[in-house]
């Protein structure tokens, strides 16, 4: 059983950034906002977290900086799409293009800079239990946060009044407005939450997954997180399943190489991207299911009548 532990541990670290970012995007989409800028927000979160940790030595400050950076990025998006009613698809693309350039610019001074990886939980005796100890009780703070995030969002969307209002805004903004809810304000908050979570996802990459900064280090994970939301048919519980499935696929490529499988590395690297396409096709072809679960107003601008 012991050989199994490192594989599970790498699966968890590969899944966590996807899970964090996808959870945030799910909430934003549930309110009717399609933010395609996840990749850009993750990158800026990653460099903000890294830069803050590297200069202060404190991982907590790094995580906070990543959250703030993600929120600020999503604020740009929210202002353009919600206040100025710009096209959400185009603005999301702009956010990603901007994020790639901005993070590379900030990060140019931090390439090759060493930092301490996020420390794992360490409970005397308990974390030392074979197999279960390191897997269940030895993770870093963000892993637990990602799981708690899914549970919290699931509870929020199904069990709280605010969650129901948020879904109502996503499903029919005019009705929600007519009842007297502030559609724009609710969408702002959902979008900013998405930004914060994407920032955390990025920080996980640069602080825990590979404790370093490299240009474009997200390598498409922001886009995969977007696909995961569709895969989950906008239900948080299935997000957990999807993220860990993708974690397994990306770990497969690492372990296949060390196990001596003679497939060129490029083909192994394609796996997560190809899996994303296949998963999208399988889920999307069930149109009825998509229609039932997708927020009806997703991607549409709302302008309150005067």
């Amino acid at each position: 059983m012991e050989w199994f532990v490192p594989i599970i541990l790498t699966v968890i670290t590969a899944s966590t950034p996807l899970l964090l970012a996808a959870t945030g995007e799910l909430v934003a989409e549930k309110s009717g906002v399609l933010n395609l800028g996840v990749e850009g927000m993750m990158l800026v979160g990653a460099i903000a977290g890294f830069a803050a940790t590297a200069s202060s030595g404190s991982a907590i400050l790094g995580i906070l900086a990543a959250v703030v950076a993600g929120v600020l990025m999503s604020l740009i998006f929210a202002f353009l799409t919600l206040t100025l009613m710009a096209n959400q698809v185009a603005t999301g693309l702009a956010l990603t293009i901007f994020g790639v350039g901005f993070s590379a610019l900030i990060g140019s001074g931090f390439v090759g800079f060493p930092i301490q990886p996020l420390p794992g939980l360490s409970i005397p005796f308990v974390s030392g239990i074979p197999v279960i100890g390191p897997i269940v009780f030895g993770q870093d703070f963000l892993v637990y946060l990602s799981i708690a995030g899914v549970i919290g969002v699931s509870w929020f969307l199904t069990r709280t009044r605010a969650g129901l209002i948020l879904k109502a805004v996503g499903d029919s903004h005019s009705s929600a407005h007519a009842i007297g809810y502030s559609v724009i304000r609710i969408r702002y908050m959902a979008t900013l939450f998405g930004g914060a979570m994407a920032g955390l996802g990025g920080a996980y990459l640069s602080l825990a997954y590979t404790p370093m900064w490299a240009e474009n280090m997200t390598a498409g994970r922001g886009w995969i997180a977007l696909a995961l939301v569709v895969f989950a048919t906008w239900r948080p519980g299935r997000l957990l399943l999807g993220a860990y499935m993708f974690g397994c696929i990306s770990v497969l490529q690492l372990h296949a190489q060390s196990a001596g499988v003679h497939i060129p590395s490029q083909f192994m690297s394609m796996l997560p991207y190809l899996a994303t396409v296949i998963v999208l096709v399988i889920i999307s072809s069930d149109r009825a299911k998509i229609r039932l679960n997708a927020p009806a107003c997703i991607g549409q601008a709302f302008r309150p009548a005067q």
């Binding site: 395609l36 850009g40 740009i76 353009l80 206040t83 100025l84 009613m85 710009a86 096209n87 698809v89 185009a90 603005t91 693309l93 702009a94 956010l95 293009i97 901007f98 994020g99 790639v100 350039g101 901005f102 993070s103 590379a104 610019l105 990060g107 140019s108 240009e215 390598a219 498409g220 886009w223 977007l226 696909a227 569709v230 060129p264 490029q266 083909f267 690297s269 394609m270 991207y273 190809l274 994303t276 396409v277 999208l280 096709v281 999307s284 072809s285 149109r287 998509i290 302008r303 005067q306």
Partner: protein
Amino acid sequence: MLIRLEPRRQHSQAMVYLSPVLAIILTLMAGMVIFSIMGKDPLRALHTFFILPVNNIYGITELFVKATPLVIIAIGLAMGFRANVWNIGAEGQLTMGAIFGGGLALLFHDSTSVFLLPAMLVMGALGGAFWAAIPAWLRTRFNANEILTSLMLTYVGVLVLSYLVHGPWRSPDGFNFPESRPFPAAALLPVIYDGTRVHLGSLIALLAVVGGWILLSKSVIGFQLRVVGKAPQAARHVGFRQKRMVWFTLLLSGGLAGLAGLFEVAGPIGQLQPQISPGYGFTAIIVAFLGRLHPVGILFGGLIMALTYLGGELAQIMMGLPNAVTGLFQGILLFFLLACDVLTKYRVRFGSAAPKGRAA
């Protein structure tokens, strides 16, 4: 609320032309702020970025070299964007075009035939169209979002190229560098101005501008593209077939992106190597918006974005600015463009007073 938007009865024609200009001015101002923060003299930086690259003939021809792929790709993308078909995987289609067309050059590496280059052009366009046909098929047959599938295929396409130049297509006498053998002379695009790198592709880009213009303004499918984008429900009632629109725009934009990729490898690069584009496929998205999704506008937009590439290179050499500044500028420009677009549809009013004397 501080800012209030009042819808205009009609789109402002003046703003359609003014808003890109306004966006560029705002981007330049933002650039000056960024340069100042970085501790560089903002005026000198702007001069290095936007004037120095084109103050000689060679610089101007380099501008055409960089603008060529941007314009060709953006014309195809704009057709799709008009019909709400979001192909953002042009970078992958560009790569596939380079693989298909460049593969032909490697297969006939001792050929001197005049038919080699035309055949490569065809293969390049087919390669790009093939790579775009996958998202088109997945969207029309399985309802899968083309934004995500076309982007995922970009990563796959770039990895295929990386595999080929590291493996089967690696040059036998290239000292183990991951690059193919140089293309034979018959596979290279003729240079149209001696002593520079500006090639036949630039002329074809101009043809694409004219062709795109005719397609958009004079053809039935161009009319349908415009209607589908502006009034999808009306289009459905009249019986325009959405699926045909998806196929048409993706094949066209993919084919053009493939052609642009082939131009890069058969033009300035002259062989296959792991990286053949500094993100032309993504920058072309900005070019399409900067040009207001219109072929003639795209020509100007392409030249402006090409300048940011040249300026970025020069600023890196002369002022030690990181190359990432280029991407940053491009993103900021797109933000300002989208923000300024609001002005075409709405009047901006400050203050919160309700409009007076306009009873419904």
